[in-house]
């Protein structure tokens, strides 16, 4: 299954092995793992909670992967995103892409992450010494998606 939203951790090695098992046409695997930092916006983070929109999340991720497949000649893509309580050092997200040559896999992996950051309905709430706070969206994430020719209004005001 190419899309998974789950509370449990994942094993990068096992996931990549499964993704390319019995696929001798694969010549490149690119994987990105996002992890929880202990510091954000100048404050220590002891724990975070990841909320999402069940149903829409899966549809959004499937749409993102479909767009990557339409743009690049890739064989497969896997997206795993964790939800629920997480701590510094924990893994949050895995994107892995297989292709014949590295260029497509690098680009598709970065595209999927850039798109996910601004279009998939996840929200992080951090616990800091000053109390709990919702993480602010970053303009740089909108800019990252813009380099693929897609405009995002995630941080903007659509009205």
């Amino acid at each position: 299954m190419p899309i998974r939203v789950q509370t449990q951790d994942f094993d990068l090695g096992a996931e990549v092995a499964a993704l390319r098992a019995g696929q001798p046409q694969v010549g490149a695997v690119v994987a990105f793992v996002g992890t929880v930092r202990d510091m954000n916006e100048g404050a220590g983070v002891s724990e975070m909670e990841l909320e999402h929109y069940p149903g829409m999340t899966e549809k959004a991720l499937e749409d993102i992967v479909a767009q990557a497949r339409a743009r690049w000649n890739i064989f497969d893509a896997l997206v795993i995103h964790r939800v629920g309580p997480l701590r510094p050092l924990d893994q949050i997200v895995l994107v892995a892409v297989t292709s014949a040559h590295r260029g497509e896999a690098f680009d598709a992996c970065e595209f999927i992450m850039d798109y996910l950051k601004t279009e998939a309905p996840f929200w992080k709430k951090e616990q800091t010494p000053h109390g709990a706070r919702w993480v602010d969206a970053r303009v740089t994430d909108d800019q990252a998606l813009a380099k693929w020719g897609i405009r995002s209004s995630n941080t903007g005001t659509p009205e």
């Binding site: 996910l116 309905p121 929200w123 709430k125 993480v135 602010d136 995630n154 941080t155």
Partner: protein, 85 residues
Amino acid sequence: MNIQLRFFASVREAVGTSQETVALPATVQTVGEVRAWLRERGGAWAEALAEGRALRMACNQQMTDAGARISEGCEIAFFPPVTGG
């Protein structure tokens, strides 16, 4: 027209509910008009859904904008900018 409302993250906390079913007056026909209609409740509703506040909207679990037309039984969601990954 009856529609389903969903709220997430800071918007859910501000308005104090995650979902409800509402009967809309006939004059409310777009997602933006639902937002404006909910603001009329005042207090936290007016603040969380204020015009000019960065807010994202979904119709039937797809990102949408204020001009999107609503239909009977649809699911409209309001939430802050997304911060996954």
